[in-house]
Amino acid sequence: MAWQWFHRLGSPRWFFEKTNAWIPWLAAISISLLIVGAVWGLAFAPADMKQGNSYRIIYIHVPASFLALAGYYTMAISGAIGLIWKMKLADMVMKSAAPIGAVLTFVALITGAVWGKPTWGTWWVWDARITSMLVLFFLYLGVIALQEAYQNQDTANKASAILALVGTVNIPIIYKSVDWWYTLHQPATIKFTSESTIHPTMLYPLLVMVVGFYVFYALVLLMRTRTEILSREKKTRWVQELAVKT
């Protein structure tokens, strides 16, 4: 029985019709969480002792960084499912996940830079985390570039899935290497406010923001995948009937 479910999930049409009702819910949840978290974090959480108000950018920076990495794994895992079980839907999820992840990684990089200006007095520091994030951004760009380079959709999906998988094997190695490189070159004098010492009044809004970002990510991924389904299945009867109805 479990397999039947799995196969049905592979059908783009079933997925499209099933998820139709989810969108308003996801949208409502993510928007309210983001508003609550942002207002709480920006207006009500206390200022940091050392950094003053500038630390408040973590309410965007931290969730974006989390999702940058989680997004890569989402992309790679759906790519692997597409490769192994030849599931069309997984290919579409992978294709949709790549640009979202890249944008979130970019957001994490930009907010990191903006945070760096008041903290370290410069826009860019070769900090271990920022460097890893930059490499992750390059990995995303590679997947997207490869996807764009192929004319044939199917080949494009499979090729970029392989690249994403190779990246997945490499990401832990890259992160560890960069960490090691950083401790070698820079005595650890400057540090981010580590999450473990953060005060609860600052932490709770951050958690709300993180959850809000995850739901928002799910929403955008779902919407992009649905668009992808329509464009890939445009020649099928059900999509055309849908187009006529609306």
Binding site: N152, Q153, D154, R232, K235, T236, R237, A243, V244
Partner: protein, 219 residues
């Protein structure tokens, strides 16, 4: 009844969101020479890709000696010879070195020496001439020399007569007939008329989907 070597069952292939052919059934018996016909873009090369396992993008079944091809790929490849429209010949190497490599990657199974194979295709004396000195037709002949070398039962030939002169074409047809008589089979595409009598023709055009959906049908 003898078992078919290759059997296609309800084969359906889609490429770039277009169905090339569907419900394609075909039995290739030992001794068959099958010519795959159809206008450009009807999926001839794609079908050959499926038959050479370079692409596995199909629905339906391909059987090799009665069992699914997927399960016995190595055995099938061991008995397959493919000559594509690209000769697969390295220009920096001599014909002898090229064929040496070919025998090497195919486990060294050889029916005759490389010299005699080259002699058969009229390249006697060219064994050690680097291939960039050879003409297009001669390069083609180097590729075709593999037909003499190989003990493979299944020959898949994509446009084998390109750049070959009339005498060469006749010899090639004789060779195919001889191969078929020995219990092998040949699948080929060609735009030239073949003078062989015992050629089965299969037109891919007939397996094109009858009606394709277009927006106009509903609106």
């Amino acid at each position: 009844m003898t078992q078919p070597l290759i059997e296609l069952q309800a084969l359906r292939c889609e490429r770039d969101e277009r169905v090339l052919f569907e419900n394609l059934d075909l039995k290739v018996m030992p001794g068959d020479v099958v010519q795959i016909e159809g206008p450009n873009g009807c999926g001839k090369t794609t079908l050959l890709r499926l038959l050479t396992t370079t692409s596995t993008d199909y629905e339906g079944q391909i059987l090799w000696c009665g069992a699914p091809l997927k399960d016995q790929r190595l055995d099938y490849l061991n008995k397959l010879l493919y000559v594509g429209h690209l000769p697969g010949v390295k220009k920096a190497l001599t014909p002898r070195e090229n064929l040496d490599w070919f025998c090497g990657v195919n486990q060294g199974h050889q029916r005759c020496t490389i010299e005699s194979a080259l002699e058969e295709v009229g390249l006697f004396g060219f064994e050690d001439v680097p291939c960039h000195h050879l003409s297009a037709g001669q390069l083609r002949r180097v590729a075709l020399a593999r037909l003499f070398l190989t003990p493979a039962r299944v020959w898949v030939l994509d446009e084998p007569f390109t750049a070959i002169d009339k005498q060469g074409v006749r010899n090639l047809e004789n060779l195919m007939a001889e191969h078929a008589a020995g219990g092998g089979c040949v699948l080929l595409t060609t735009h030239q008329d073949m003078s062989m009598s015992a050629v089965r023709k299969i037109n891919l055009e007939e397996f094109k989907p009858q009606s394709e959906w277009s927006a106009g049908d509903i609106v």
